[in-house]
Subunit: 573 residues, 2 copies
């Protein structure tokens, strides 16, 4: 854990995900090594992991910040809360995308922030923003640093001074309006810290993205995040009712209203703005009383078609589960392979009950046999009676689609493991393999095409780069008219790992658009997805968005070129 100069604000590893000393381990997962060997041809028994990167080996370009400028910042936030320290600057350079991890490991850090500031409150932030604009510098807000869309890095060719504004000090739940179920929360508060403050008073935010442990509520708003229980609690766009955004010359205030007809929604412009409209300092979010029941049940379907059909019918029905998730056959295989020996699911599967049941249902006789079975998790929250009833409604639909329930055991495991997945990328990179994710959302009628399209695109890309590659997927986040499809892909890369990665990632992204999906369901645009924005919201849509940024930030001082980056900028990183 990298401590900020003046403490109080901690960060993830400078070179990877999460906390120092925490990582992914395979030795206690007997199915994992054979799985990886089969999937991408990597033999974990012989692969020699590279040693942990040493900061001393890194050549950090000098800060461009002038003494006058840092002095001015110090005059605002205090001497101890401004730093040009190399480690601090490196920590604030990238997010944690695969591209970021590879670049930091290969010492490709051309352009870092020149100075990092840790303001204590909104008044200081207003002064920093105004000073940055007055000096024609560049400001990039920084929350938890978990971004995977390239939203945090300075432009490679940026000539001006770049300031990273770390919101880590603004981490409090300021107030809970218990009658309205809304809480004022400072933008820099990380998931666990804000959830604990809410829990202590009997409340929950109900927003649990995979990045939860290392992402902030300001970041969730800035990237249009979505959490695992979004079926019940909504995406952050629904949860975040009010917000305060420091802009040059003044603070934009959206009051927490349940609904309004006040013209084009400025609230919905701030959502997904990735720092381009200013610095989000406070969010007034919907919160809920901690429910009496919060269960995740596991189900199996004979194949993904049955799984999709069941999720669609659930979304159309009167049932209101909190989570709807179904892994395809490959991701199911992965889940089983990462189970610890003799525990939970593995134990269950190793027994005779489940295989016997599946046989009786005729799953073994379908094309592909038991290789096609799909693991599903469905969550139920609310009063004991409500959760029970929702489960009853869901069970009937699952049964109709030839699925079967296997209880809460695997769901508990899922709940425990859900925030650990990002560690796997560092584990693979240590052994020369690239692993990453891409997700989309589309109408129910297009999900099968989206699924098949991404598989075909990835496999064609693997063929093109001559690598044995892997792809797997799950459906999550159901809506009335469609759902999110989340893909994980991996391959053992060569010397030009990022070049190869671009081929695969681009192919998958293009397949999303070609099959009626969006460029990202909940990771934002940044630089990474910017090349597909025109195809997503049409050239006229991009013109409107570009115009919005041009007029609200004429000097391009606020995290410039993110979201509507030129295509050239995006792909030349």
């Amino acid at each position: 854990m990298t401590d900020a100069r003046n403490n109080q604000v901690s960060h993830m590893k400078w070179w990877g995900w999460g906390l120092d000393g925490v990582g992914f381990h395979w030795e206690d997962k007997p199915g994992f090594a054979p799985f990886v060997l089969k999937a991408v041809g990597l033999d974990l028994h012989t692969a020699q992991p590279v040693p942990e990167p040493s900061f001393a080996d890194l050549k950090v370009p000098k800060s461009k910040a002038t003494a006058t400028f840092t002095g001015a910042l110090a005059g605002i936030v205090g001497e101890d809360d401004v730093t040009t320290d190399d480690l601090e600057r490196v920590v604030h350079t990238y997010g944690k995308s695969l591209r970021d991890l590879v670049r930091i490991r290969t010492h490709k850090i051309e352009r870092l922030p020149d100075v990092v500031v840790y303001p204590d409150d909104e008044a200081e932030i207003q002064k920093v923003v105004d000073a940055v604009v007055a000096a024609d510098a560049v400001l990039i807000p920084f929350g938890g640093g978990s971004n995977i869309a390239g939203s945090l890095e300075p432009r490679a060719d940026e000539k001006r001074i770049v300031v990273s504004l770390d919101l880590g000090r603004l981490n409090k739940v300021l107030d809970i309006d218990e009658e309205s179920g809304i809480a004022r929360i400072q933008a820099g508060a990380l998931g666990p810290h804000l959830e604990k403050q809410l829990n202590d008073k009997g409340w929950t935010i109900g927003h649990f993205p995979d990045s939860f442990t290392h992402s902030s509520i300001g970041g969730w708003v800035a990237t249009r995040s979505s959490g695992m229980q979004s079926d019940k609690y909504g995406d952050i766009a629904e949860i975040a009712r009010g917000m305060r955004v420091v802009r040059p010359g003044g603070t934009l205030v959206i009051r927490a209203l349940p609904s309004t007809s006040s013209g084009p929604s400025v609230r919905e412009m701030i959502l997904g703005s990735e720092g381009r409209l200013g610095v989000i300092t406070e969010v007034t979010a919907q919160v809920h009383r901690i429910p009496a029941k919060r269960d995740v049940y596991a189900y199996f379907f004979p194949n993904i078609e049955a799984g999709f059909a069941a999720m669609q019918e659930i979304s159309e029905s009167d049932a209101t589960p909190s989570i709807t998730r179904v892994s395809d056959a490959r991701e199911t295989g992965f889940s089983l392979a990462t189970s610890k020996s003799r525990k939970g699911l593995d134990k269950f599967l190793a027994g005779t009950v489940l295989p016997g049941l599946m046989k009786r249902k005729g799953w073994a006789k379908q094309p592909g046999g038991l290789e096609n079975i799909c693991l599903s998790f469905i969550g139920f929250e609310g009063s004991v009676e409500h959760a029970k009833r929702q489960k009853k409604l869901v069970d009937a639909i699952v049964k109709k689609h030839n699925g079967m329930g296997v209880g809460t055991g695997p769901g508990v495991l899922y709940d425990q493991k859900k925030f650990d997945t990002p560690y796997l990328r560092d584990f693979l990179l240590d052994r020369g393999a690239a692993g990453d994710v891409s997700e989309t959302a589309g109408p129910w009628s297009k999900l099968a095409d989206l699924h098949a399209g991404a598989y075909a695109a990835a496999n064609a890309a693997y063929e093109k780069i001559g690598r044995k590659g892997w792809i797997m997927s799950h459906l999550s986040h159901s809506y009335h008219s469609g759902a999110c499809l989340y893909f994980t892909f991996a391959f053992v890369g060569g010397d030009d790992m990022l070049g190869e990665y671009d081929v695969v990632k681009s192919a998958i992204q293009q397949s999303f658009i070609d099959n009626g999906g969006t460029l990202s369901h909940h990771h934002g645009v940044g630089l990474e997805h910017s090349p597909w924005l025109e195809q997503d919201i049409s050239p006229e849509g991009v013109k409107v968005m570009r115009g919005l940024f041009a007029v609200t930030d004429p000097g391009e001082n606020l995290n410039p070129r993110k979201i509507v980056a030129d295509v050239r900028e995006s792909i030349s990183r």
Copy 2:
């Protein structure tokens, strides 16, 4: 009914709401005359209604459209689909706000559209938009003409040619994606017409605003409408997933996605844009299979505090009703007064059962006694079992708050009468009285203040203008964190009825803002609410919105100055 020149598109009365020959009648409602006398001092038995306005009396200013320009339009849409006819121009001048009705009755029509066009499709609309911009003219899209926020009228001092683009020909449901529950609907389709097309195939849009019979889906999107069953189906901002908007030089296309993280939401910029970003030509909307049960139950509460508390608890509970609505004591009195003799509620109340029950519950002994009782409607939709269960959950909460259910009889009446209310304004105007509505939304914790604040503001305003005035209210549209409060007010006006109206309406609007509410929950901004926009979304928020319009419509050709009108413009009409 005013027929368009070339038929196919019909319009409301040029001088008032709804269909020719249809109006509000009091003779069959024995409680109504005494009620009106008590409320605003108007004696219906002696009041002489003014005769129906005669179009021949109207002096219509000449069209400014040049022959060259109308010729160019005719070249695009066809000779028969361009008109400078006086009646056509008058019909397209205003919406149906009280201000509009008074102005048309008093022949205050300074600036009309110069020409009306009826394009057949999007391709024609693109050419019209481009021709308008090329000629530096002004374009105002027109759907059902039911707007009550001043969104349709040309600026009084507009020197350029003004074109009203009537979308009435674009009235079809083009396609239903039955798997995804979304339907492509042309923007000009009016409520009953599109609902019938959906119903014929077993679907419903679930969006039923008071204006339903005379408003279009394009207009719903352009003004951020909300329908009565929004608790279940969502506001139009939720329902409208995809849209096509013709802009100068090209068409903006938002595909129908269940969710996306593609930057500031352009979809949410189009929602509420009131023609300022272009012409909405098509909406892809969520649709639902017609539910087996669709019931509206009536309840009584001893007072409004109990009603509010029950609605809040319902919104927080596991129950998911389709409608939550509770009238305050005064609106309850109004509802009872508009009941027809010996039918439904009136019959029920005239009996001995209900008063007996209320007495047993001790309601007569509360401060104000039975005068304070509040009528509530709660809707349940879904499968028979689901509707039954939701009712059970709701009934328990109602009981906890000392309320009581009285069955579906009054609910059926409510369902039948719900679209008739707007006719009442014309009835009152015929007799010299001004009646209008203002609605807001705010957090649950502020509803009591919002309610009391609007009453105090209206009463102070009535005192100021020296009139006996009336105000009543209901809560409707519940959300997790708050609800909509809808106010109806009336008074017998003098010679300067609009001046007096401004005093009352402004006072109510200001009380909304002062007590934590928004300027409008579902009627849009237009010119009418524009003076409160800065207080609603903050000066920085208005700067962002103003910037958006400036950059997307630099020539101010697209319904200019609506939403962010100068305050002067708004109040000097």
